[in-house]
Symmetry: C2
Amino acid sequence: MSDPRITIIGERLKEISKIVAVSSGKGGVGKSLIASTLALTLARKGYKVGLFDLDFTSPSTHIILGVEGLQPKEEKGIIPPQVHDLKYMSIVYYSGEQTLPLRGADISNALIELFAITRWNRLDFLVIDMPPGISDATLDIIRLVKKINFLIVTTPSKLAFETVRKLARLLAELKIPIIGVVENMKIKDSPFIKQQVECNDLNFWGEIPFDNKLEESLGKVDRLLETVFARELKEIVSENLKL
Amino acid sequence: MSDPRITIIGERLKEISKIVAVSSGKGGVGKSLIASTLALTLARKGYKVGLFDLDFTSPSTHIILGVEGLQPKEEKGIIPPQVHDLKYMSIVYYSGEQTLPLRGADISNALIELFAITRWNRLDFLVIDMPPGISDATLDIIRLVKKINFLIVTTPSKLAFETVRKLARLLAELKIPIIGVVENMKIKDSPFIKQQVECNDLNFWGEIPFDNKLEESLGKVDRLLETVFARELKEIVSENLKL
């Protein structure tokens, strides 16, 4: 990677205090909802926050935030639009409704381009909605973002946790910090995930109950922040990030 | 693709009557559970059935079937092990516990190899557990398997259906048949998915209620087939495949 844009990326991210990459072993665990709600929660607490949707497989934070059709402003790079107190950037600005998948090399290139052009300026937190699981894109983002911290989302299911185990092992090999694991969509009282997280030497942040009101709040941020889901996440975040 | 293995693949798949690729727009919608249960259900009805796990992102049918650690027999290619009345093949036989993701070209190559070496012989149905969403691997499988039919799984969520819309549009452009859409994990009575499916000119197969007994049945096939989930799926399949 001798791409001159790499140096620019370092400059672009210099003024960001903490970068949290919200990730998961597999899709469908609520990763995008947690990334969006985490970003909104931090913004409502008065922090300067950016949200960056890099989930190439199924970008959805624009639906959660209710901002479909938005376009960023170009000015010596790209200034992320201000949305619900967030600076918000998403790959859908560029990928739009196209059906064909980007090939591996194109994804790498798109990632470098997006990080190089986006002018976040000063931020307390940049929350990244990662692609689920372990992919070339995950590795690319890790290479590009030096100060990255992972927050991993799982459900109570064994199927989800098996994939978390693999992701955590990869991150450990690459010496990338994992700040915590959140157990989402909890239905029954069971210590399974907490035990597994702790015996894999990871930090269990807490659990969030399954919330069937969530679907109705998609696209309506004020309603989203009133859900049990958002209130539980807020407590977990305040406690673990010591805000 | 002038790879000589491509011709072999045609030969290998010639004796299979129907190939059903169970797919989804995004992960976490129950795709692998539906693929496994569909295959088991057809086998219990007396059909000759193969199950092929090609979900590179998070293979899990081996956990659902309770056959971790299995290895296939080599004999002029690979004979898939017989598991619970199924011929069962999975990429985990080869990928095992490795943490690094396969790069795009390696996935293409692994797919060609797997299809070229696997000796299914005569089958009434081959059920493929596809990678979620639209990826290079999806396109590769479509190119390799001429007689492929897609069965798409979604949840009631708008976030899941948005990704189904994209997948369906891609398949339509490629002229690949979609035999139906199953709505999984239904909690509340809502016509949203059925309406969306039908106004996108797709065939709505039916809905399956959210079943919190499913988790306990992972790895226990007899128990799995007794769940509400499996019984509903069986009815939907019998009706739509006219068995």
